[in-house]
Symmetry: C2
Subunit: 530 residues, 2 copies
């Protein structure tokens, strides 16, 4: 009530006629080709659902960035309430009826509209095929699993975590079987993150990577010209100045529009879309590390660019949504790895950054440092571009084997150690920096890991596209932004699969050789390999 | 979706098991005396409604403090969606049924429970007695009226605004008549802001004030010892240092707990309660004015203290809510006027503030300046403690006369000028700084103005209480905070009227002589009157 009272005063005192005007006219009218009233009935239901998702986004952003610590109890109630209302609307039988009748009229719809119906069906089935019991069982295991994982990692106790893992594999198999009994359970899970792919396809790609990367990592390790970043590390970099630089680069390089978003700090950087006109990112700045902050900012700004450029014509519609986690990751990795971590960026930006901080490190050192390989690193999230895929491949292989039953949970610590040694030449000293290091499995996310590396592959293929690589050389960021908007972002999910999207955009289906060549040529030059 | 995706990662990576645990156990269990299951059915409905209000509060706070400008369109949709869901739940016929059956069993409930039923009935009737048409008519006029007011004030065009005012008076009479045909329309409107009072009662009080204040203002104006604050005004005060001071004083004086709230900046300072454990205030700091920022901070922190101390036992219940706008204002004015603007505060804090800014002004000048009377000020929101009530009385009288038909809208500019001259000895040069200066009427808020001055009266009566005045002299803020919590904040609305609350708290019904004596003695000493 008090908020009503004071916000009344605030809302009225504040010059926000805009708010009022928007309130009257701002609600987006879909202008679709079809005059099928059932279709428009469906889009209106979807639009309303997307408004609730936007509300949820504000609550989650506030929770991570602004909320006072003791507000967490009330916030948990806010989020539970919204997700209750959301679930009710997302599983509304009316959606099912409309879909059924529209599915017989798909030929009357244009490509976006037809995709909208098909994608909504997919969402609707995944939500409604689960019994209330099963959904609750999953929710319960998800929070229990997360808490157990936190405790197990803290106390380096895999035995504590093993039963959770066993339950998850069983439960996810059960769920996958309900969603699509005709496919492998693991493939059904993958579909949530990379639509249209399969474990086998990914395995084919990852096998090529392994064959190339394991010797490359070994060669880099043996190299006599290791990167010396001591001049960089001995300096202190004011976080205030880093923030200014972050804002400048987010806006001048990645085109982050501060009238449509915010950049704040948080312990764990993330990007979050409230709306295409309100996309917020966070970064993490430390005064002993200039490059990690820059990488965070550019990475999240890359994600944000995708959200800002989603096709407004399909606002709130399933087809407007990004095509998958892997492609989303490719948009952040493109800017982080192919722009920020490339030589051309440093040609352009080095003088400014040098002035800003009185940099001691040379331009060459900056470029080499941001690409430096850390051979002794056991932790995926801290891995460099070269070793990261091997961390991912190890997890992907273990997930598949768990689901097809060729290994069992208790063997994981042993298998983890052996493969780390085989792939990266290092062995974890304990399970906390080994099999227990990632949050995903405790919360039931299986099939998510591959997307980190698939994203890297997509990014490399886009960067290798002749048109793009020219713009990268010229630091012509605007042309890149426009190309990405037209060929990736604005497409939403109309292609139904990432494979089709990348084919339309680059003229070729996903081809790992672009990523491999990118790594080979870059690390050959940095580490002076023959 | 992207937010789901990234917040998934965020929520999981962030150490917020707390969030999860709270999610499981944090939902507040009402422990009421009665075992009446209908009563608990009602309280559960109310608790759910209060969660939605909390969500609405986060959206409004974000809109005012954090949201990027172009996010306003989506935010308007978020707020419209939530208010739609809220309206649906607040007018749920189930509430009516439960109330009807509980009203026959009031004797089985304790005082808080009985008040909870009565207050919920009051809310429910006020929401359900309006037809959908009438509610929409009001909403439409409210936004049209606000926009017209903005334009009219900008262009100094009262004729443009007059029709809105005429429509509002007619509409509010119609609404008041539906709510309670047995009472004067204006009294029904007053009841929204100061429950249990009447225009006649307020008029009796305000008449005494007028009789005392008009000559007092005149005497101060004639005084030969005017306040010279030039040494204060010639300095520049870093807003960063002001912010530190604001935080220190909010927490060490008013007891603002930063684990349960935030202090930010906004163009128009406000206080907003998301939950008793998440109460947020904003302030406005300008480097050319040290005192106005301090006053904003302390004022809003006073409001926040009320919200934080509301009785958790009745979380989400109607009876937990503050008793009225006037009492709420008294809690902010108590800290602003009787602590910050008093001599004892400066005895304790002057040395620290002097060091912080290298103050040139003496302690005496600081005290006099914060209380300085600005005779030529035509604007209510910029008025000092002494002249403010006369601005309010003028508006209150005009409102009453508009509603009982003794004046009509077109006369307002003339009447405004005459009374400003009579009460304050100044005349507006145009309508923009006269009758068009306030936001309230354009948006249909009639009966709100008196609460500013009633709040000042309540604050003065509390400050004059022997126990309190002793603590004020000793700067014993904690004892004051505890007393206010036990005698005002935690009472919520159990007393049903502000009159009963102040009587229980101070042993006497509202008595304007405390306020009058406070002003007389303070301004006699500052302006050296005989």
């Amino acid at each position: 009530m008090i908020r009503t009272l004071f916000c009344l005063i605030v809302i009225l005192f504040i010059v926000n006629c805009e708010q009022v005007i928007v309130d009257e006219h701002g609600i987006f009218e879909l202008k679709n080709g079809t005059d099928n009233h059932k279709y428009h009935e469906l889009t209106e239901i979807l639009r309303k659902i997307s408004i609730l998702r936007g509300i949820n986004a504000v609550l989650e952003w506030d929770q991570q960035v602004m909320m006072p610590t003791k507000g967490s109890g009330a916030r948990a109630e806010h989020l539970a309430e919204i997700s209750g209302i959301l679930h009710e609307r997302e599983t509304d039988p009316k959606i099912g009826e409309l879909l059924t009748s529209l599915e017989s009229e798909l030929h009357t719809l244009d490509a976006y509209e037809a995709a909208n119906v098909k994608l909504t069906r997919k969402d609707y089935d995944r939500k409604t095929k689960l019994s209330k019991d099963l959904a609750e069982k999953r929710a319960k295991l998800s929070s229990e699993g997360f808490n157990t994982w936190v405790e197990a990692r803290k106390t380096n106790n895999f035995e504590m975590f093993a039963p959770i893992l066993t339950q998850w594999v069983a439960l996810q198999k059960e769920i996958a079987n309900l969603i699509d009994p005709s496919r492998d359970a693991y493939d059904v899970l993958l579909d949530d993150y990379e639509p249209g792919t399969s474990g086998q396809e990914i395995d084919n790609i990852f096998s090529q990577l392994k064959t190339e990367l394991i010797p490359l990592v070994a060669a880099v390790r043996r190299s006599n010209s290791q990167v010396d970043d001591s001049t960089l590390l001995e300096q202190v970099y004011s976080t205030k100045t880093q923030e200014e630089l972050s804002r400048k680069i987010a806006s001048e390089v990645v085109g982050f529009d501060f009238s449509k978003g915010r950049l704040d700090s948080s312990a764990h950087p993330f990007s979050l879309g409230v709306d295409t006109d309100d996309v917020r990112i966070t970064t993490r700045l430390r005064n002993n590390s200039l490059l990690s902050g820059l990488r965070c900012t550019v990475h999240e700004a890359g994600h944000a660019l995708y959200e800002v450029n989603l096709n407004k014509k399909y606002k709130g519609q399933t087809v407007q949504r990004y095509i998958g986690v892997a492609i989303h990751e490719s948009q952040s990795l493109f800017w982080e790895r192919h722009i920020l971590m490339g030589t051309h960026f440093w040609d352009k930006w080095y003088p400014h950054i040098k002035d800003l901080f009185g940099l001691k490190a040379s331009k060459e050192i900056m470029f080499k440092s941001v690409n430096k390989v850390n051979f002794d690193n056991l932790i995926r999230v801290e891995a460099d571009e070269l070793t990261y895929p091997l961390h991912v491949i190890l997890r992907f292989e273990i997930e598949r084997e768990l689901f097809n039953g060729t290994i069992n949970v208790n063997e994981l610590p042993k298998i983890w150690g052996e493969r780390m040694e085989k792939y990266l030449g290092i062995k974890p000293s304990n399970d906390s920096n080994g099999v227990l290091q990632d949050v995903h499995w405790g919360s039931g996310y299986f099939g998510y890991f591959p997307t980190y590396t698939l994203g890297a592959l997509y990014a490399a293929q886009i960067a290798a596209h002749p048109t793009i690589s020219g713009w990268v050389r010229e630091n012509d960021y605007n042309s890149i932004i426009n190309w990405l908007r037209d060929n990736v972002h604005s497409k939403g999910s109309v292609t139904m699969t990432s494979e089709q999207l990348i084919k339309d955009a680059t003229g070729e289906k996903l081809n790992p050789s672009y990523f491999i060549n990118h790594l080979r040529s870059k690390y050959k030059s940095i580490y002076d390999l023959e």
